[in-house]
Amino acid sequence: MMTAVSMRNRGLLYGGLGILVVIAIALVAPSHGYYLNIMMQAATYAIAVAGIVVVLGYCGQISLCQAAFLGMGAYCVAIGTVDYGLPFFVSLAIGVAVTGIGGTLLGLTTLRLGGHYIGMVTIGFQLIVTMVLTNWLGFTHGPDGISGIPRPSLAGMDLSGGAIYLGLCLLFLGAVTMFTVYLKMSRLGRAMQAVRDNDLAASTCGVNVFRTKVIAFAISAALGGLGGGLFAGAFSYISPDQFTFNDSVVLLTMALLGGVEYAFGALLGTILLVMLPEWLRFLRQAYLAVYGAAVIAIIVFLPRGMWGLLMDRYFKPRPMKAVEVAPLPLLARHGVPSEDVVLNIAKLAKHFGGLKAVDEVDMMVRRGSVHALIGPNGSGKTTILNVITGLYVTTAGKVEFLGKDITALPPHDRARLGMCRTYQNIRVFRGMTVLENVIVGAERGGNDVSGTDATLERALAALDFVGLRDVAHLPVGDLPYGHQRYVEIARALAGSPEILLLDEPGAGLNLTEKGEMAELLKRLQGHGMTIVIIDHDMKLIERVADHITVLNFGRRIADGDPKFALSHPEVIAAYLGEPHRDAA
């Protein structure tokens, strides 16, 4: 597809440029001395900073222990080469593996906790690593550090010369940067960004939130290890005081300065922050103070970092070229309403402390039908939807989907079975474009399409279906409210759902928009889509519903075809309250 191709072309262009830069730098780099040291420091740090881009920029998890992983990688190389006589690249691989595994374990144990807790645990981990490096004399050589770390040779080629080794570091850096750029455009990268922007919505789009976070953590740690391993070779001497909490802060600042969402931002930030103290040397004692002030200024005045500023200025999103795509295949395979029960909930209950938000509700959704769930505000409609999609743990009762008991499944596994939903308070992925939002939906595990081009095509078809193709390239936050609802619906549709759950799709829409929404629902109904819909607009409900379940105070008070349900006396009482017309 056009976009994929153009993305790839741009990537290749960047890559080619990068390699040219590497060669150019390696050619002009001095064989030793100040400039070489500066460049090596920048190159190896930048690899570790790319890890922060992945974990914080893409996945939104704060990590304050990148220097610990840098250190672990460096010590693996140092101990491997110096004490065990292993070849450099073997030691480097061990370093990457150790940090990758370390990151995974740290992630597995802590990532279920909330934001600032992760920050705190990572600080703790950082301090413990520093302490172990300092005190485990027998293994790490203690505070003396390890000197005489050799640089590698490969296939008989000596890579230990300053410029050649710098070239090697830059090649790694180039590869890491390319990897980071591509990661952002990959399925995994989109999943990470979805988790960052809205983890609930991500989970109901089929993203395994926890696993995605752990992977991001592991990648980040491994990149820290890679940077550290190369750092050890670059300076041939390492000691524990190079990998302290302060260094973690510096690495984090590098990422934020450059622009934590961008691989190139990380690069830019690293170069600047390696250079900044050097440029400020003329201030002598005061330069670290100025550095601190600069950090504040950067955060206040450059919220998206330097690269973000450049992007905002010079890279306006361009409309995509029109491409013909096949119309969205909407369940033509199943066709007409049938007696098959798609979703069956039995004696479902959800209590919050003493509050019975949902109380012994039964509901049966048949294939191809539009099933409305209505009731006054606070009657438990959204809670039921949350229980069905797995966001809330069931207190009692059972949820069956396609004949399978899914009561105990997490949200992403339910999505995998073909359950897609929208939210009352719109949950789109704000940091991503309209198209990327919908692609996340199309990438639902268990969808009948896979592969970059097919998912892209499916996403475009879904956008065609809701009429938002023209704005596919825009950041989703730039769209008006009503259109964001359509983005959510397109995201759900792109996942080819077996059942579509819509929570107040008409809320906040004006009359015209409501009419359009009704049209859209009608079209979906015509395609045989199974839909559960919550809405307050009775006109909308009357136009589309085949079956209505009415709730009040968490209990089902009526269930049946629209006519029956809406004329039920309890329903009228619930909706109109006791008539007080005499009082008025």
Partner: protein, 291 residues
């Protein structure tokens, strides 16, 4: 002769310092949602202010104490205006980074101005301490413990008994609604910046006779105090105090009975253990299930 009582005394003394600094942390988290990584620098600045007043201006001890604590409070407001106010709508991480930047700025400004040599700051009492039974009670530890407990009691009275305290609690629990009720939210938040810096400064002044006045004070107390906060329960006032005392005691006993070099690790091992077993901390507020 058992070392235990002596170690407990020392542990409580050190723990009281962590608790005081931690209290400043907690209040900022609760009122403004600011995780202040420069809290340790408040202590350092307080100690330097005290030193300058005592040594350069020859101000009597207690007047110098009051003046430096008040100056620290004013500094806290300036700090809030610079590091928090422009970023207040941008979430937690940017504020964290800006307070880290402020910490670097403060530490190195002091270093560039007053030089690196540690200085001696006299304590509250002239005597070095008293022997009770076979426990030697360092006079400075005694004054720290007393101050910490007086502050604790005072804070309890202010927070639980006065209307202002209730307003502060309300602000921390729901800032928007507090504003709706006409509670001067912004004033209160900056009031907390004032108090939290003053508290940090006071902790610095009290700890400086033990640790000496140097820029290094900041890092000694800050991270432990932060850990205390998490162990006690993020944003919980009793949690900050109990967490601080716990860390002080555990690391002192740990150093005595397990290993001295790993002393600094105990707080963080405890921290990770608490987070794994009881993520909301010992006194953490009930985590509501309903999102």
């Amino acid at each position: 002769m058992s070392m235990l009582p002596q170690l407990l005394f020392t542990g409580i003394g050190i723990g009281s310092i962590y608790a005081m600094v931690s209290l400043g942390f907690v209040l900022l988290i609760r009122s403004a949602n600011v995780v202040n990584f420069a809290q340790g620098e408040f202590s350092m600045l307080g100690a330097y202010l005290m030193l300058i007043l005592l040594m350069s201006f020859h101000v009597p001890y207690f007047i110098a104490l009051v003046v430096s604590v008040i100056l620290m409070g004013v500094f806290g407001i300036v700090f809030g205006v610079i590091t928090y106010w422009p970023l207040r709508t941008r979430g937690q991480i940017p504020v964290i980074i800006s307070t880290i930047g402020a910490g670097i700025l403060l530490e190195n400004t002091v270093l560039a101005t007053y030089g690196p040599s540690p200085q001696v700051l006299p304590g509250v009492f002239n005597a070095s301490g008293v022997l009770v039974g076979n426990i030697f009670m360092d006079s400075q530890y005694l004054s720290i413990i007393c101050t910490a407990f007086v502050l604790l009691a005072l804070q309890y009275v202010i927070f639980e008994k006065t209307v202002v305290g209730k307003k502060i609690q309300a602000t921390s629990q729901d800032r928007e609604t507090a504003g709706l009720l006409g509670i001067p939210v912004v004033t209160l938040i900056f009031g907390i910046f004032f108090y939290s810096a003053a508290l940090g400064g006071l902790a610095g002044i009290l700890v400086a006779p033990i640790l000496f006045v140097s820029v290094g004070i900041a890092s000694v107390v800050a991270l432990k105090a932060f850990a205390a906060n998490i162990i006690g329960g993020f944003g919980s006032i009793p949690g900050a105090i109990i967490g601080g005392l716990l860390i002080g005691i555990v690391e002192t006993l740990g150093a005595a009975y397990i290993s001295v070099p790993y002393k600094d690790a105990y707080a963080f091992i405890m921290l990770i253990a608490v987070l794994l077993v009881r993520p909301q901390g010992l006194f953490g507020e009930r985590v509501a299930e309903k999102a």
